[in-house]
Symmetry: C2
Subunit: 272 residues, 2 copies
Amino acid sequence: MNSSNNNVKPIGVFDSGLGGLSVLKELAQRFPNENFIYLGDTARLPYGSKSVDTIQKYAEQNIEFLLKKEAKVIVVACNSASSAFLTKNKKDYGLPIINVIEPASQSAINTSQTNNIGVLGTRATIQQKAYNRVIGLLAPQYKIHSVACPLFVPFIEEGLIDDPIMNLIIHRYIYPLLKTNIDTLILGCTHYPLIKDYIQKVAGKYIQLIDSAPAVADILQHKMAVKAVTPNIKNNKQNIELFITDINSRFEEVATRFLKPVTYSNITATQL
Amino acid sequence: MNSSNNNVKPIGVFDSGLGGLSVLKELAQRFPNENFIYLGDTARLPYGSKSVDTIQKYAEQNIEFLLKKEAKVIVVACNSASSAFLTKNKKDYGLPIINVIEPASQSAINTSQTNNIGVLGTRATIQQKAYNRVIGLLAPQYKIHSVACPLFVPFIEEGLIDDPIMNLIIHRYIYPLLKTNIDTLILGCTHYPLIKDYIQKVAGKYIQLIDSAPAVADILQHKMAVKAVTPNIKNNKQNIELFITDINSRFEEVATRFLKPVTYSNITATQL
Protein backbone atom coordinates (compact mmCIF):
# COMPACT_ATOMS: atom_id res chain seq x y z
CA MET A 1 0.00 0.00 0.00
CA ASN A 2 1.27 3.45 -0.81
CA SER A 3 1.87 5.52 2.27
CA SER A 4 0.24 8.67 0.88
CA ASN A 5 -2.86 9.37 -1.19
CA ASN A 6 -2.80 10.94 -4.69
CA ASN A 7 0.72 9.51 -5.09
CA VAL A 8 1.94 12.69 -3.45
CA LYS A 9 5.32 12.31 -1.76
CA PRO A 10 4.91 13.14 1.92
CA ILE A 11 6.87 15.40 4.23
CA GLY A 12 8.67 13.24 6.79
CA VAL A 13 8.90 14.31 10.43
CA PHE A 14 10.49 12.42 13.30
CA ASP A 15 11.05 12.73 17.03
CA SER A 16 12.07 10.46 19.89
CA GLY A 17 8.44 10.41 20.94
CA LEU A 18 5.48 12.70 20.78
CA GLY A 19 7.00 16.16 21.31
CA GLY A 20 7.58 16.51 17.57
CA LEU A 21 3.82 16.43 17.07
CA SER A 22 3.88 20.12 18.11
CA VAL A 23 5.97 20.74 14.97
CA LEU A 24 3.80 18.44 12.84
CA LYS A 25 0.71 20.36 13.96
CA GLU A 26 2.19 23.69 12.82
CA LEU A 27 3.34 22.24 9.47
CA ALA A 28 0.01 20.48 8.79
CA GLN A 29 -1.85 23.75 9.35
CA ARG A 30 0.58 25.84 7.31
CA PHE A 31 0.71 23.37 4.39
CA PRO A 32 -2.80 21.94 4.00
CA ASN A 33 -1.98 20.52 0.53
CA GLU A 34 0.82 18.37 1.90
CA ASN A 35 0.70 14.86 3.26
CA PHE A 36 2.78 13.88 6.27
CA ILE A 37 4.52 10.80 7.66
CA TYR A 38 5.46 11.11 11.33
CA LEU A 39 7.76 8.69 13.13
CA GLY A 40 7.92 8.69 16.93
CA ASP A 41 10.63 6.40 18.32
CA THR A 42 8.65 5.68 21.47
CA ALA A 43 10.41 2.32 22.07
CA ARG A 44 13.64 4.16 22.85
CA LEU A 45 12.50 7.53 24.16
CA PRO A 46 13.65 9.81 25.66
CA TYR A 47 16.71 10.85 23.64
CA GLY A 48 17.49 13.89 25.81
CA SER A 49 19.27 11.94 28.56
CA LYS A 50 21.36 9.79 26.17
CA SER A 51 24.80 10.21 24.57
CA VAL A 52 25.39 11.95 21.25
CA ASP A 53 26.59 8.71 19.60
CA THR A 54 23.48 6.80 20.60
CA ILE A 55 21.15 9.64 19.57
CA GLN A 56 22.94 9.96 16.23
CA LYS A 57 22.56 6.21 15.58
CA TYR A 58 18.83 6.34 16.37
CA ALA A 59 18.36 9.46 14.18
CA GLU A 60 19.97 7.70 11.21
CA GLN A 61 17.62 4.73 11.60
CA ASN A 62 14.65 7.09 11.72
CA ILE A 63 15.80 8.82 8.53
CA GLU A 64 16.21 5.48 6.76
CA PHE A 65 12.62 4.63 7.70
CA LEU A 66 11.27 7.91 6.32
CA LEU A 67 13.33 7.50 3.12
CA LYS A 68 11.65 4.13 2.55
CA LYS A 69 8.31 5.92 2.94
CA GLU A 70 9.41 8.25 0.09
CA ALA A 71 9.63 11.44 2.14
CA LYS A 72 10.60 14.39 -0.07
CA VAL A 73 12.05 16.36 2.85
CA ILE A 74 12.76 15.34 6.44
CA VAL A 75 12.16 17.49 9.50
CA VAL A 76 14.15 16.48 12.59
CA ALA A 77 11.48 17.61 15.06
CA CYS A 78 13.57 16.87 18.13
CA ASN A 79 16.17 19.20 19.59
CA SER A 80 18.30 16.39 21.04
CA ALA A 81 18.47 14.66 17.65
CA SER A 82 19.01 17.96 15.80
CA SER A 83 21.78 18.75 18.22
CA ALA A 84 23.48 15.36 17.74
CA PHE A 85 23.01 15.80 14.00
CA LEU A 86 24.69 19.20 13.95
CA THR A 87 27.54 17.76 16.03
CA LYS A 88 28.13 14.53 14.14
CA ASN A 89 26.40 14.08 10.82
CA LYS A 90 28.30 14.41 7.61
CA LYS A 91 26.15 12.04 5.52
CA ASP A 92 24.30 13.30 2.43
CA TYR A 93 20.91 11.63 2.08
CA GLY A 94 20.14 13.35 -1.23
CA LEU A 95 17.20 15.33 0.13
CA PRO A 96 16.82 18.37 2.37
CA ILE A 97 16.97 17.67 6.11
CA ILE A 98 15.66 20.47 8.30
CA ASN A 99 16.61 20.57 11.97
CA VAL A 100 14.83 22.63 14.63
CA ILE A 101 17.88 24.41 16.04
CA GLU A 102 18.95 26.60 13.14
CA PRO A 103 15.46 28.05 12.47
CA ALA A 104 14.85 28.77 16.17
CA SER A 105 18.30 30.37 16.50
CA GLN A 106 17.68 32.69 13.54
CA SER A 107 14.29 33.61 14.94
CA ALA A 108 15.82 34.42 18.35
CA ILE A 109 18.54 36.56 16.77
CA ASN A 110 15.88 38.50 14.85
CA THR A 111 13.92 39.06 18.06
CA SER A 112 16.49 39.97 20.72
CA GLN A 113 17.24 43.65 21.37
CA THR A 114 19.52 43.08 24.37
CA ASN A 115 21.69 40.55 22.49
CA ASN A 116 21.08 38.16 25.38
CA ILE A 117 19.23 34.94 24.50
CA GLY A 118 18.08 32.25 26.92
CA VAL A 119 17.79 28.57 25.96
CA LEU A 120 15.75 25.89 27.75
CA GLY A 121 16.45 22.31 26.69
CA THR A 122 17.10 18.70 27.63
CA ARG A 123 20.45 17.68 29.11
CA ALA A 124 21.67 16.40 25.71
CA THR A 125 20.77 19.63 23.89
CA ILE A 126 22.30 21.89 26.53
CA GLN A 127 25.46 19.79 26.98
CA GLN A 128 26.13 19.69 23.25
CA LYS A 129 25.85 23.50 23.15
CA ALA A 130 24.22 23.34 19.70
CA TYR A 131 22.45 26.69 20.14
CA ASN A 132 25.69 28.33 21.27
CA ARG A 133 27.48 27.04 18.19
CA VAL A 134 24.74 28.02 15.71
CA ILE A 135 24.15 31.48 17.21
CA GLY A 136 27.90 31.90 17.63
CA LEU A 137 28.32 31.43 13.87
CA LEU A 138 25.37 33.59 12.83
CA ALA A 139 25.79 36.42 15.33
CA PRO A 140 28.84 36.08 17.59
CA GLN A 141 27.99 39.22 19.59
CA TYR A 142 25.01 37.47 21.24
CA LYS A 143 25.35 36.06 24.73
CA ILE A 144 23.64 32.72 25.45
CA HIS A 145 22.25 31.68 28.86
CA SER A 146 21.28 27.99 28.92
CA VAL A 147 19.33 25.92 31.44
CA ALA A 148 18.88 22.13 31.25
CA CYS A 149 15.29 21.29 32.24
CA PRO A 150 15.30 17.47 32.53
CA LEU A 151 12.01 17.26 34.46
CA PHE A 152 9.83 19.16 31.96
CA VAL A 153 9.40 16.17 29.60
CA PRO A 154 8.30 13.65 32.26
CA PHE A 155 5.74 16.11 33.64
CA ILE A 156 4.38 16.98 30.17
CA GLU A 157 4.16 13.32 29.18
CA GLU A 158 2.21 12.74 32.40
CA GLY A 159 -0.20 15.52 31.44
CA LEU A 160 0.78 17.44 34.61
CA ILE A 161 0.73 20.84 32.92
CA ASP A 162 -1.69 23.03 34.86
CA ASP A 163 -0.37 21.68 38.15
CA PRO A 164 1.12 23.40 41.21
CA ILE A 165 4.12 21.04 41.32
CA MET A 166 4.86 21.70 37.64
CA ASN A 167 4.65 25.40 38.45
CA LEU A 168 7.36 24.97 41.12
CA ILE A 169 9.58 23.15 38.63
CA ILE A 170 9.12 25.98 36.09
CA HIS A 171 10.07 28.53 38.75
CA ARG A 172 13.17 26.58 39.68
CA TYR A 173 14.43 26.39 36.10
CA ILE A 174 13.48 29.91 35.00
CA TYR A 175 14.55 31.94 38.07
CA PRO A 176 18.32 31.91 37.36
CA LEU A 177 17.57 33.33 33.89
CA LEU A 178 15.71 36.30 35.37
CA LYS A 179 18.98 37.54 36.86
CA THR A 180 20.42 37.84 33.34
CA ASN A 181 19.66 40.40 30.68
CA ILE A 182 17.73 38.09 28.33
CA ASP A 183 14.70 39.40 26.44
CA THR A 184 14.30 36.28 24.26
CA LEU A 185 13.95 32.68 25.41
CA ILE A 186 14.18 29.67 23.08
CA LEU A 187 11.92 26.71 23.90
CA GLY A 188 14.66 24.26 22.94
CA CYS A 189 12.60 21.07 23.10
CA THR A 190 9.52 20.25 21.04
CA HIS A 191 7.63 19.28 24.21
CA TYR A 192 7.89 22.74 25.71
CA PRO A 193 5.28 24.57 23.57
CA LEU A 194 2.69 22.64 25.61
CA ILE A 195 3.72 24.60 28.73
CA LYS A 196 4.41 27.86 26.89
CA ASP A 197 1.72 29.86 28.74
CA TYR A 198 3.02 28.75 32.13
CA ILE A 199 6.64 29.52 31.21
CA GLN A 200 5.51 32.95 29.94
CA LYS A 201 3.80 33.66 33.26
CA VAL A 202 6.98 32.94 35.23
CA ALA A 203 9.34 34.61 32.73
CA GLY A 204 7.20 37.75 32.58
CA LYS A 205 5.77 39.64 29.63
CA TYR A 206 9.04 41.36 28.62
CA ILE A 207 10.61 38.06 27.61
CA GLN A 208 9.67 36.81 24.13
CA LEU A 209 9.40 33.02 23.85
CA ILE A 210 10.68 31.36 20.66
CA ASP A 211 8.90 28.20 19.54
CA SER A 212 10.79 26.36 16.79
CA ALA A 213 7.65 25.16 14.97
CA PRO A 214 6.74 28.40 13.12
CA ALA A 215 10.43 28.98 12.34
CA VAL A 216 10.67 25.48 10.84
CA ALA A 217 7.53 26.17 8.78
CA ASP A 218 9.15 29.38 7.45
CA ILE A 219 12.26 27.48 6.34
CA LEU A 220 10.14 24.84 4.64
CA GLN A 221 8.14 27.54 2.87
CA HIS A 222 11.38 29.08 1.66
CA LYS A 223 12.64 25.70 0.41
CA MET A 224 9.41 25.27 -1.56
CA ALA A 225 9.68 28.79 -2.98
CA VAL A 226 13.19 28.10 -4.31
CA LYS A 227 12.09 24.59 -5.48
CA ALA A 228 14.49 22.75 -3.18
CA VAL A 229 11.32 20.92 -2.10
CA THR A 230 8.53 20.34 -4.65
CA PRO A 231 5.27 21.61 -3.18
CA ASN A 232 2.02 19.77 -3.72
CA ILE A 233 -0.52 22.08 -5.33
CA LYS A 234 -3.81 20.36 -4.60
CA ASN A 235 -4.96 17.77 -2.06
CA ASN A 236 -8.56 16.70 -1.57
CA LYS A 237 -7.83 15.27 1.82
CA GLN A 238 -4.68 15.83 3.83
CA ASN A 239 -3.23 12.48 4.88
CA ILE A 240 -1.31 12.37 8.19
CA GLU A 241 0.13 8.99 9.09
CA LEU A 242 1.72 8.37 12.46
CA PHE A 243 4.19 5.53 13.00
CA ILE A 244 5.47 4.68 16.45
CA THR A 245 7.99 2.08 17.56
CA ASP A 246 6.09 1.22 20.76
CA ILE A 247 2.37 1.54 21.26
CA ASN A 248 1.23 1.96 24.82
CA SER A 249 -2.26 2.53 26.08
CA ARG A 250 -1.81 6.26 26.68
CA PHE A 251 -0.51 7.03 23.21
CA GLU A 252 -3.74 8.17 21.57
CA GLU A 253 -4.61 10.46 24.48
CA VAL A 254 -1.19 12.16 24.42
CA ALA A 255 -1.09 12.37 20.58
CA THR A 256 -4.52 13.97 20.49
CA ARG A 257 -3.48 16.52 23.14
CA PHE A 258 -0.36 17.49 21.14
CA LEU A 259 -2.03 17.71 17.71
CA LYS A 260 -5.32 19.39 18.59
CA PRO A 261 -7.08 20.73 16.43
CA VAL A 262 -5.25 18.73 13.73
CA THR A 263 -6.34 15.10 13.47
CA TYR A 264 -4.27 12.19 12.21
CA SER A 265 -5.42 9.64 9.61
CA ASN A 266 -4.08 6.55 11.37
CA ILE A 267 -1.46 5.20 13.79
CA THR A 268 0.69 2.17 12.99
CA ALA A 269 3.20 0.35 15.18
CA THR A 270 6.48 -0.34 13.42
CA GLN A 271 9.94 -1.71 14.14
CA LEU A 272 13.14 -0.05 12.96
CA MET B 1 39.45 -12.09 28.05
CA ASN B 2 37.40 -14.02 30.55
CA SER B 3 34.69 -11.91 32.12
CA SER B 4 35.34 -13.19 35.67
CA ASN B 5 38.48 -13.90 37.66
CA ASN B 6 39.42 -17.36 39.00
CA ASN B 7 37.31 -18.86 36.19
CA VAL B 8 34.34 -18.44 38.50
CA LYS B 9 31.01 -18.17 36.70
CA PRO B 10 29.39 -14.88 37.64
CA ILE B 11 25.90 -14.01 38.80
CA GLY B 12 24.15 -11.99 36.09
CA VAL B 13 21.95 -9.02 36.97
CA PHE B 14 20.14 -6.69 34.59
CA ASP B 15 17.92 -3.65 34.64
CA SER B 16 16.73 -1.03 32.17
CA GLY B 17 19.20 1.36 33.73
CA LEU B 18 20.78 1.93 37.08
CA GLY B 19 17.97 1.13 39.53
CA GLY B 20 18.99 -2.53 39.57
CA LEU B 21 22.28 -1.47 41.14
CA SER B 22 20.34 -1.31 44.43
CA VAL B 23 19.79 -5.07 44.07
CA LEU B 24 23.37 -5.67 42.92
CA LYS B 25 24.64 -3.84 46.02
CA GLU B 26 22.63 -6.10 48.35
CA LEU B 27 23.76 -9.26 46.53
CA ALA B 28 27.42 -8.20 46.41
CA GLN B 29 27.39 -7.62 50.17
CA ARG B 30 25.51 -10.82 50.97
CA PHE B 31 27.67 -13.00 48.67
CA PRO B 32 31.25 -11.70 48.95
CA ASN B 33 32.67 -14.84 47.29
CA GLU B 34 30.64 -14.32 44.14
CA ASN B 35 31.52 -12.34 41.03
CA PHE B 36 28.88 -10.26 39.25
CA ILE B 37 28.07 -9.09 35.73
CA TYR B 38 25.58 -6.23 35.61
CA LEU B 39 23.88 -5.04 32.44
CA GLY B 40 22.07 -1.68 32.40
CA ASP B 41 20.16 -1.07 29.16
CA THR B 42 20.65 2.69 29.40
CA ALA B 43 20.30 3.22 25.62
CA ARG B 44 16.62 2.26 25.84
CA LEU B 45 15.64 3.23 29.38
CA PRO B 46 13.15 3.66 30.92
CA TYR B 47 11.18 0.45 30.50
CA GLY B 48 8.40 1.49 32.90
CA SER B 49 6.52 3.63 30.37
CA LYS B 50 6.71 1.10 27.51
CA SER B 51 4.49 -1.77 26.35
CA VAL B 52 4.80 -5.33 27.65
CA ASP B 53 5.84 -6.65 24.19
CA THR B 54 8.65 -4.14 23.86
CA ILE B 55 9.86 -4.70 27.43
CA GLN B 56 9.78 -8.47 26.91
CA LYS B 57 11.85 -8.17 23.71
CA TYR B 58 14.43 -6.01 25.48
CA ALA B 59 14.56 -8.41 28.46
CA GLU B 60 15.27 -11.37 26.16
CA GLN B 61 18.15 -9.50 24.53
CA ASN B 62 19.56 -8.69 27.97
CA ILE B 63 19.38 -12.35 29.00
CA GLU B 64 21.14 -13.46 25.80
CA PHE B 65 23.94 -11.02 26.61
CA LEU B 66 24.36 -12.38 30.16
CA LEU B 67 24.27 -15.97 28.89
CA LYS B 68 27.21 -15.18 26.59
CA LYS B 69 29.03 -13.86 29.65
CA GLU B 70 28.48 -17.30 31.24
CA ALA B 71 26.15 -16.20 34.02
CA LYS B 72 25.17 -19.15 36.25
CA VAL B 73 21.94 -17.48 37.39
CA ILE B 74 20.19 -14.33 36.19
CA VAL B 75 18.47 -11.78 38.38
CA VAL B 76 15.91 -9.59 36.62
CA ALA B 77 16.53 -6.54 38.83
CA CYS B 78 13.77 -4.47 37.25
CA ASN B 79 10.12 -4.63 38.21
CA SER B 80 8.86 -3.61 34.77
CA ALA B 81 10.91 -6.37 33.11
CA SER B 82 9.99 -8.91 35.83
CA SER B 83 6.39 -8.00 35.33
CA ALA B 84 6.56 -8.42 31.53
CA PHE B 85 8.40 -11.67 32.12
CA LEU B 86 5.75 -13.07 34.44
CA THR B 87 3.11 -12.02 31.89
CA LYS B 88 4.73 -13.30 28.73
CA ASN B 89 7.75 -15.52 29.07
CA LYS B 90 7.51 -19.23 28.57
CA LYS B 91 11.09 -19.78 27.33
CA ASP B 92 13.46 -22.07 29.24
CA TYR B 93 17.00 -20.73 29.25
CA GLY B 94 18.41 -23.74 31.11
CA LEU B 95 19.40 -21.74 34.18
CA PRO B 96 17.50 -20.18 37.09
CA ILE B 97 16.02 -16.75 36.43
CA ILE B 98 15.01 -14.82 39.54
CA ASN B 99 12.58 -11.92 39.22
CA VAL B 100 12.06 -9.25 41.86
CA ILE B 101 8.27 -9.53 42.11
CA GLU B 102 7.84 -13.00 43.60
CA PRO B 103 10.36 -12.51 46.45
CA ALA B 104 8.94 -9.09 47.38
CA SER B 105 5.38 -10.48 47.27
CA GLN B 106 6.29 -13.33 49.63
CA SER B 107 8.03 -10.94 51.96
CA ALA B 108 4.97 -8.64 52.02
CA ILE B 109 2.64 -11.57 52.74
CA ASN B 110 4.86 -12.62 55.65
CA THR B 111 4.80 -9.07 57.01
CA SER B 112 1.21 -7.88 56.71
CA GLN B 113 -1.14 -8.32 59.68
CA THR B 114 -4.08 -6.42 58.19
CA ASN B 115 -4.00 -8.47 54.94
CA ASN B 116 -3.83 -5.17 53.07
CA ILE B 117 -0.70 -4.57 51.00
CA GLY B 118 0.23 -1.42 49.10
CA VAL B 119 2.33 -1.44 45.94
CA LEU B 120 4.22 1.52 44.43
CA GLY B 121 5.53 1.00 40.89
CA THR B 122 6.03 2.30 37.38
CA ARG B 123 3.09 2.52 34.99
CA ALA B 124 4.09 -0.75 33.30
CA THR B 125 4.35 -2.68 36.58
CA ILE B 126 1.06 -1.37 37.95
CA GLN B 127 -0.87 -1.79 34.67
CA GLN B 128 0.28 -5.39 34.28
CA LYS B 129 -0.95 -6.12 37.82
CA ALA B 130 1.96 -8.53 38.37
CA TYR B 131 1.89 -8.12 42.17
CA ASN B 132 -1.87 -8.70 42.22
CA ARG B 133 -1.45 -11.92 40.27
CA VAL B 134 1.46 -13.26 42.33
CA ILE B 135 -0.07 -12.37 45.71
CA GLY B 136 -3.47 -13.57 44.44
CA LEU B 137 -1.95 -17.00 43.81
CA LEU B 138 0.05 -17.21 47.05
CA ALA B 139 -2.50 -15.68 49.42
CA PRO B 140 -5.83 -14.79 47.77
CA GLN B 141 -7.25 -13.29 50.97
CA TYR B 142 -4.92 -10.28 50.72
CA LYS B 143 -6.17 -7.02 49.30
CA ILE B 144 -3.80 -5.04 47.06
CA HIS B 145 -3.78 -1.23 46.76
CA SER B 146 -1.58 -0.04 43.88
CA VAL B 147 -0.31 3.39 42.89
CA ALA B 148 1.62 4.15 39.70
CA CYS B 149 4.41 6.64 40.52
CA PRO B 150 5.78 7.65 37.10
CA LEU B 151 7.66 10.71 38.37
CA PHE B 152 9.78 8.98 41.02
CA VAL B 153 12.33 7.62 38.52
CA PRO B 154 13.05 10.94 36.75
CA PHE B 155 13.54 12.69 40.11
CA ILE B 156 15.81 9.94 41.47
CA GLU B 157 17.87 9.86 38.25
CA GLU B 158 18.25 13.65 38.63
CA GLY B 159 19.51 13.17 42.18
CA LEU B 160 16.58 15.26 43.49
CA ILE B 161 16.03 13.10 46.55
CA ASP B 162 16.26 15.34 49.59
CA ASP B 163 14.27 18.04 47.82
CA PRO B 164 11.04 19.86 48.73
CA ILE B 165 9.50 19.24 45.28
CA MET B 166 10.26 15.52 45.53
CA ASN B 167 8.62 15.59 48.95
CA LEU B 168 5.43 17.00 47.38
CA ILE B 169 5.47 14.24 44.74
CA ILE B 170 5.85 11.59 47.47
CA HIS B 171 2.90 13.10 49.36
CA ARG B 172 0.75 13.09 46.24
CA TYR B 173 1.40 9.42 45.50
CA ILE B 174 1.27 8.12 49.09
CA TYR B 175 -1.75 10.03 50.45
CA PRO B 176 -4.45 7.92 48.76
CA LEU B 177 -2.88 4.83 50.35
CA LEU B 178 -3.19 6.29 53.84
CA LYS B 179 -6.99 6.08 53.54
CA THR B 180 -6.71 2.30 53.13
CA ASN B 181 -5.92 -0.30 55.74
CA ILE B 182 -2.41 -1.17 54.50
CA ASP B 183 0.35 -1.94 57.02
CA THR B 184 2.85 -3.09 54.38
CA LEU B 185 4.05 -1.23 51.30
CA ILE B 186 6.07 -2.80 48.51
CA LEU B 187 8.70 -0.59 46.84
CA GLY B 188 7.88 -2.05 43.43
CA CYS B 189 10.71 -0.45 41.46
CA THR B 190 14.42 -0.93 42.08
CA HIS B 191 14.93 2.85 42.06
CA TYR B 192 12.69 3.42 45.07
CA PRO B 193 15.03 2.17 47.84
CA LEU B 194 16.98 5.40 47.27
CA ILE B 195 14.00 7.40 48.58
CA LYS B 196 12.97 4.83 51.19
CA ASP B 197 13.55 7.15 54.18
CA TYR B 198 11.42 9.89 52.62
CA ILE B 199 8.62 7.50 51.71
CA GLN B 200 8.74 6.12 55.27
CA LYS B 201 8.37 9.62 56.69
CA VAL B 202 5.21 10.26 54.66
CA ALA B 203 3.77 6.77 55.11
CA GLY B 204 4.34 6.86 58.87
CA LYS B 205 6.03 4.39 61.21
CA TYR B 206 3.18 1.86 61.28
CA ILE B 207 3.66 0.99 57.62
CA GLN B 208 6.43 -1.50 56.89
CA LEU B 209 8.28 -0.90 53.61
CA ILE B 210 9.31 -3.92 51.54
CA ASP B 211 12.48 -3.60 49.49
CA SER B 212 12.89 -6.45 46.99
CA ALA B 213 16.70 -6.60 47.28
CA PRO B 214 16.98 -8.53 50.60
CA ALA B 215 14.12 -10.81 49.49
CA VAL B 216 15.97 -11.59 46.23
CA ALA B 217 19.14 -12.31 48.22
CA ASP B 218 17.15 -14.77 50.39
CA ILE B 219 15.89 -16.62 47.30
CA LEU B 220 19.39 -16.79 45.86
CA GLN B 221 20.72 -18.12 49.16
CA HIS B 222 18.05 -20.79 49.10
CA LYS B 223 18.90 -21.75 45.51
CA MET B 224 22.55 -22.13 46.54
CA ALA B 225 21.58 -24.21 49.58
CA VAL B 226 19.63 -26.65 47.40
CA LYS B 227 22.39 -26.59 44.74
CA ALA B 228 20.16 -25.11 42.02
CA VAL B 229 22.95 -22.54 41.78
CA THR B 230 26.56 -23.59 42.47
CA PRO B 231 28.05 -21.25 45.06
CA ASN B 232 31.63 -20.10 44.85
CA ILE B 233 33.50 -21.01 48.03
CA LYS B 234 36.50 -18.71 47.93
CA ASN B 235 37.30 -15.49 46.10
CA ASN B 236 40.41 -13.41 46.69
CA LYS B 237 38.87 -10.35 45.13
CA GLN B 238 35.23 -9.92 44.27
CA ASN B 239 34.89 -8.87 40.63
CA ILE B 240 31.94 -6.63 39.71
CA GLU B 241 31.71 -5.71 36.05
CA LEU B 242 29.18 -3.20 34.80
CA PHE B 243 28.06 -3.13 31.17
CA ILE B 244 25.83 -0.37 29.86
CA THR B 245 24.34 0.15 26.42
CA ASP B 246 24.81 3.94 26.51
CA ILE B 247 27.48 5.80 28.45
CA ASN B 248 26.67 9.36 29.32
CA SER B 249 28.68 11.76 31.39
CA ARG B 250 26.58 11.38 34.54
CA PHE B 251 26.76 7.60 34.64
CA GLU B 252 29.65 7.17 37.06
CA GLU B 253 28.18 9.66 39.53
CA VAL B 254 24.78 7.93 39.56
CA ALA B 255 26.29 4.42 39.67
CA THR B 256 28.49 5.36 42.61
CA ARG B 257 25.48 6.82 44.47
CA PHE B 258 23.46 3.61 43.96
CA LEU B 259 26.24 1.14 44.87
CA LYS B 260 27.86 2.88 47.84
CA PRO B 261 29.68 1.38 49.79
CA VAL B 262 30.17 -1.36 47.18
CA THR B 263 32.61 -0.46 44.40
CA TYR B 264 32.64 -1.82 40.86
CA SER B 265 35.71 -3.20 39.06
CA ASN B 266 35.04 -1.55 35.71
CA ILE B 267 32.40 -0.14 33.36
CA THR B 268 32.20 -1.09 29.69
CA ALA B 269 29.93 0.26 26.96
CA THR B 270 28.33 -2.49 24.90
CA GLN B 271 25.75 -2.93 22.14
CA LEU B 272 23.05 -5.57 22.23
